[in-house]
Symmetry: C2
Subunit: 769 residues, 2 copies
């Protein structure tokens, strides 16, 4: 351990550290010394299609004089305001996400509908080349717009967004991931991308959109425009913002799938790392608001006021008309379906990972290359969608009078394409439709013979491959819909193959196929089950869906991790896993604490603090009280970099080394420590400390968190890791086991628990059980 | 702090402590000294209808040489076995709970059906007095059997069981609550109780049943009959047992309501205090097994092989036939319904609390009094059920040909009772039915005029009051069904009143009424929502159900706590709340640490340990290393009473004060520390220590948990309480802030966080914000 002293480092050494680098380092690390040791991917994360610095979040509620003072000064009215505001925010998040969801739906259905109607019209006039030109041209235009938005305005908006939200809720904030520009691009980029006929979904982007909305609301007004309210300060901390973002993520799923309960469970099972019952209730409220908004608009739109949108009800793919009958052979078929689905799902993860690695290299070359990649994928998608239906033979329409065939509607089940009257092209019914309608057609029940086995096979292969190569290009792209699309096609295919021995409708097989793919890629259980239930409204399928999910998840887990976990890792976000690695059992906390520990005295020289802030990237500094302020050296608390900056800005300095608690409290209030939006906090350069102030003293007692979480140095690293994650910490103090030593051994941060760091220090432990 | 020494206490003082009292104290308290301070209700809990000692559970995974040795010796095969076994146990729990659920259903429907058929037959012959005698007689016989089982075999089986399971999962084991006898009585007592026509449900008892099954499986065989397998030892700890019991609780709800997803969510939201994603998956698997078992048996029974059971499908109260149409006036009506429902629900809680307090005094007087109380309530219920229908006027049957009216079936919708042919008695259709069928009738859609407003009112008042006075008598009695029954009747009543201005079917109003009552009493959100969805299969009602639940829960929370929380408190179980009391912010950890702390040396005299075990009720003792074993006094770890007893039984003593790690490891293995079933552990009296061994030494290092969780003495009590609960601790070490003092200040246990203890020490803090 080493006390920081201005004499320790000469001037050259100090300026050697490049300003930009130090700033990035500050944001990323508590311990810049580790940069050389850790794997390059975890220094700076790939967010969306860009490389960005990341920052740890601090969910701990500090205990210090300032907070206590603030708490004492709060009157009942203010506490009531605070609670009311929490609910008001949840309401606003629900309302806005619901409205965005409806807006997204209306826009996509109208844009894509217009495009499909145009193509169909030209097809009917036998102008096939013109039809292709119109179709591919529309797609290309939309795709380029989406890509341009992403590349130039907000690179962080590319991709699903769920991995980033997941990382945020785990305690890692990637730069600009929840910024207003990201929100804007996410909404419009997603509309353009989905309307452009890509095999992408809108659910991931909706989750990200909901989280962005929540984050913006949580920041409550803008200091820049002098629009801050005093009582909004209570939300200006990582903890309350995390709660709001959890609500936002849930609202996103609720809006995307019209599945309010599924949204809550998704947030609980997949998104959040940390949970409490009060939050469950608030999330539930948010998604209830979303459900009510959706219900209202869908009823409004059913009268035809929203253009081409408004045919589907609150249930997106209703299959409740099918009679659920099954017996032993069906169950065996379903088990087989689950096993193969799980394997195909994990293969999907593997391939997505490979493709993403390739794309991240391509995307690094600049905006133009990004857009070029999008254009190529768009052309490929258009060629597949328009070209492959020509392989299908025309099928005579069913004689059943209730179905209109061939169908010239937007979402038609029986597209005529090039076929003569009275016939339809089954592949066109899948390819030349929006993804939602294609899924609806695949899930349709009591229509066994509608699709040829060969057509289903072609569509399955095409969608499986397109889904894999589309994720990772510079547009907002969800993973749910591609997986459901491929899965339901796979399920229907299996259903057709088992037709001779099975009593289960092929539409229901299709649902089970979708479940198996979702289980194999996403690895969720309860939330997927409820989402599928809310999507299809068939409760009697529940036992089978549960069975398939269990089997496919088990199969998938044998090969690799869930797709979101994989992407989090690929992006280099320092995520804390729920289960520590087995080798962590063999190390103790002291083993991974590295680098010189920099501590401050209870009353410290301003110069020392400035130097420490300038020359290290540490974000937390232990404060040690020594005589005369205490009988023996003792751990007084922990101060954060952000707190020190505010304290120095406040200039509550004194000439002598004395306690100045009241003076500090008079100059600075808890409000000043409110956290600003991402990347907008006070910086070292903003301080204006005069030369003569360098030798003055500042009292750190009022701001130091007097009860940081501590572990004894001999605690196993595995146990410490679990504690660190469960409490959502940023810094954990390691204290000595025996008396007579300095009161703190070191500080553990998120990076000390990363496998790259540990294995860098102890390469041999990897093979220990 | 004070070291224990055999010379400190003379013989008289030692024998003064009554053997029985000390045993009870050992089980209850880590700190018997507090007994005088705390409120009497929290010393010993009321479990079921009896007064029992309670024991804290230890969920912490200890780290010591023994455990490490054991972990190193495990081969991959054993780890695989362990994982496989976890899933096998989940499977067995699912299967058994599913089978018990089906057995319960078949038994209740057949017994109650026989009783109702007999009554109806006598009624048709106009033998009204005989009919009453038969009806009341059957009820009385069944009620007395249930009460006798409860009173004589397992008093812990009375009541719902959910509060006890909730407390167990929070870390408090009430004596015999999960014993085999309790399981037996719970299953049969519940069947008799429900069949006896009481206004009680089977869902609480099913949750308790599931938990009992899980606990028995977790104990894995019996030492008494030499039926233990070596590999079952991995489950012989509180942590794994808790996981199994969580699965069991979920399986119980799944079996009772045929709601597998609802079961998982119930366990998550209401039952468990502690959760992790791996457990979510295992619980999901368990309830999936339950669903598959239920589905299979229901299909089997639909052919008529199960007697009178088998008419209902997998959905208990299917209302999906109703068309869901609503507009603004309906929503206003629904909001009003939610508000009043919430108030009535919280009133229900208040009255249940009052009645329970009265009954617990009555029940203390012995088994005979308990049975007498049951007989009285049974007679009252019979008189209401048979007498009140006479108040209703006969209604002409509807002209609709599809309904059979009057109906002589068991679960008939249109009971003829005393009415002339072509007429029916609407009150009899509600009263002279099983509770399930009454709910089904109340929820029936497209039957607006079936029940008179006056009949609904009479039934509502009767059921509301009977539900309140029935809970707490000595039979297994669930709270869900009474609440749903009263709520759906209330909803239908409101629906009838709003009929002129509302488009919503009265059956749907009935569902919303049930939701409002459940929200007002239970205060759950997501789980109730999913359970109601799985009960009624109407997804389109979801937005309204969510709205009602939110309103009624909010209303209820204004007045009192949820019914289960209230009962936990009433029973005196030392439950750790998720939110600490506001005044805890003003105290620090050191403030509540009381009594002399008893510590051991790393190598301690056998006599000292024996005396400490005999004379105190402490369950955890810090171990302090001193020179020559360390340079300065240091906290070596924490030993538990149960570990010390095993160590002393192993007799790894040495003549001199030396480290004897290997010798101890040779004599004792981790297996010896496996926890036995509740109340069956090693006792002090089982030890056979010779006089000459009192002066020998024993090395505590191999068994001491070397990394106990510690907090600094200045941490606020509120923060410490949250930490204590989140980590599921039994002991938390308080360490000094400064150097140069003994390495431990005290130990915090569950009881130190109880309001009674804190307010006993600091009465004035109650009024601080």
């Amino acid at each position: 351990m080493q006390k920081f002293d201005s004499s320790m480092m000469d001037f050259e050494e100090r300026v050697e550290i490049d300003d930009f680098e130090s700033e990035v380092m500050e944001r990323i690390y508590s311990k810049p010394l580790l940069i050389k040791r850790v794997n390059t991917t975890s220094q700076i994360a790939i967010v969306g299609a860009n490389v960005c610095p990341v920052e740890s979040l601090d969910y701990e509620v500090p205990e210090n004089e300032l907070v206590n003072e603030d708490w004492r000064s709060r009157r009942t009215v203010q506490i009531f305001q605070y609670i009311l505001l929490k609910w008001a925010f949840a309401l606003i998040i629900g309302l806005s996400t619901g409205l965005v969801g409806i807006f997204n739906n209306i826009a996509v259905e109208n844009i894509a509908g217009f495009k499909l109607l145009l193509t169909t019209e030209l097809m009917l006039k036998k102008k096939y080349y013109k039809a292709f030109a119109a179709y591919a041209g529309c797609n290309l235009g939309l795709a380029t717009s989406a890509a341009a938005l992403c590349a130039f305005i907000a690179p962080a908006a590319a991709g699903s967004g769920i991995p980033e939200v997941k990382a945020y809720l785990n305690g890692v904030d990637a730069y600009s991931i929840l910024a207003p520009s990201t929100l804007f691009v996410k909404i419009f980029g997603s509309i353009f991308g989905v309307a452009a006929g890509f095999v992408v979904g809108k659910e991931g982007p909706m989750v990200h959109t909901g989280s962005c909305i929540a984050s913006l609301i949580g920041q409550g007004g803008s200091r820049k425009y002098h629009l801050t309210w005093r009582w909004l300060r209570y939300f200006k901390n990582d903890r309350d913002r995390r709660d709001l973002i959890t609500c936002g993520a849930a609202a996103g799923v609720a809006a995307a799938f019209r599945a309010p309960v599924g949204g809550v469970l998704f947030a609980l099972e997949e998104a959040a790392s940390w949970w409490r019952s009060a939050l469950l209730w608030r999330t539930f409220f948010t998604t209830a608001v979303v459900a009510i908004v959706l219900r209202g608009f869908i009823q409004l739109c059913s009268t035809g006021t929203c253009g081409l949108f408004g045919q589907g009800g609150l249930i997106m793919y209703d299959i409740s008309a099918a009679k659920v009958v099954y017996s032993t052979p069906d169950i065996l078929a379903v088990i087989l379906l689950g096993v193969i689905g799980g394997i195909l799902g994990s293969l999907y993860n593997y391939l997505v990972d490979k493709v993403l690695r390739t794309y991240s290299i391509i995307n690094e070359r600049g905006a133009a290359v990004k857009i070029l990649l999008v254009i190529m994928i768009s052309l490929l998608t258009s060629i597949c969608s328009y070209g492959l239906p020509w392989l299908a033979t025309c099928i005579p329409c069913p004689t059943d009078a209730s179905t209109s065939c061939p169908n010239t509607d937007v979402s038609g089940n029986y597209k005529s394409f090039q076929c003569p009257p009275g016939h339809y092209n089954d592949l066109a019914s899948l390819f030349l439709n929006t993804n939602d309608d294609a899924i609806r057609n695949l899930l349709s029940t009591n229509t066994v013979k509608e699709f040829h086995v060969s057509s289903l096979f072609i569509f399955f292969v095409a969608v499986y491959c397109l889904g894999i190569i589309t994720y990772g290009i510079a547009i907002p792209s969800g993973l749910f819909i591609p997986v459901i699309l491929a899965g339901s096609c796979y399920g229907r295919l299996v259903g057709r193959l088992f037709e001779p021995i099975s009593k289960l409708d092929v539409g229901l097989f299709s649902l089970l196929g979708a479940a198996s793919f979702l289980g194999g890629t996403m690895r969720m259980t309860v939330s997927l089950c409820v989402i599928l239930l809310e999507l299809t409204n068939d409760l009697l399928m529940l036992p089978l869906v549960m069975l398939v999910l269990l089997i496919s998840k088990t199969m998938g887990d044998m090969f690799n991790k869930g797709v979101y976990d994989q992407i989090v890792k690929l992006k280099g976000l320092p995520y804390m896993e729920a289960h520590p690695e087995p080798y962590m059992k063999h190390l103790i906390a002291r083993d991974v604490v590295t680098g010189p520990l920099i501590t401050f005295s209870g009353v410290e020289k301003v110069g020392n603090i400035l130097l420490a802030l300038k020359n290290t990237g540490h974000n937390g500094f232990p404060v040690i009280d020594e005589p005369p302020f205490s009988d023996a050296p003792e751990l007084c608390g922990l101060v954060l970099r952000s707190q020190l900056l505010v304290l120095l800005k406040g200039k509550a300095f004194s000439k002598d080394r004395v306690l100045a608690g009241n003076k500090v409290l008079g100059k600075i209030s808890e409000l000043d420590f409110a956290k600003a939006g991402s990347g907008k906090g006070l910086k070292l350069e903003d301080l204006d400390i005069q030369e003569e102030e360098w030798d003055m003293y500042v009292d750190l007692h009022p701001i130091a968190n007097t009860s940081p979480y501590t572990v004894v140095e001999t605690m196993s690293l595995a146990k410490a890791a679990v504690l660190f994650r469960e409490l959502g910490l940023r810094h954990m103090c390691v204290v000595p086991k025996s008396q007579g030593r300095p009161p703190i051994v070191g500080i553990l941060t998120r990076h000390d628990f990363q496998p790259e760091h540990i294995l860098g220090l102890y390469p041999h432990v990897r093979f220990q059980q």
